[in-house]
Symmetry: C2
Subunit: 121 residues, 2 copies
Amino acid sequence: MIYRAINFQQKLGLFAEQWAPKVIAEMNDYQFKVVKLKGDFIWHDHKDTDETFIVIEGDLRIDFRDGAVNIAAGEMFVVPKGVEHKPYAEDEVKLLLIEPRGVLNTGHEGGDRTAENDAWI
Amino acid sequence: MIYRAINFQQKLGLFAEQWAPKVIAEMNDYQFKVVKLKGDFIWHDHKDTDETFIVIEGDLRIDFRDGAVNIAAGEMFVVPKGVEHKPYAEDEVKLLLIEPRGVLNTGHEGGDRTAENDAWI
């Protein structure tokens, strides 16, 4: 039997929508999601879990209340649980997110920036 | 405060040893490990957990008892828990592994291919 690997760029080519994470794989109770971001997001945190950002293409900045981190393609950063953060991208950035199943993109903030959860592609 | 992202190639440049995973980050009780592989490994499985392979550079093949998967740079594959597998790389391949803290590279097989666990770089 031939098993197929999951190609990040192929998955990212299937949609244009920004700020809408798409699940591409699961490991135990964690999900891998690709997402396209441009511009500013809202301040939020995730009370119960760390959240991993891996940049596939472009440049991401994540602002914290006490600073910021710049993440380029081929780099990763883990935002610790409970730490308020706000992603920002001047130009569109393509990311891989890793976090437990059920985590909302806006944490517990809600509002119109909250994306559909568990949307597979 | 300026936080620093983790650069995969920078971390991979810090060691030459093959088949020796190095931890570069943690998310909750999961670890991210970079590793260089070339040649054949042993058959093994992980009874309690899935294991994620993301190829950073090169080509990896993972053999299963009933087939195989080829994983190129920019691709990922999740080996389900309990599934016997054997990584193989004709030329050196550079990987990111994601799995729970405490998982040994040889599963429960032991032997001289078992690498030091929880080795940070």
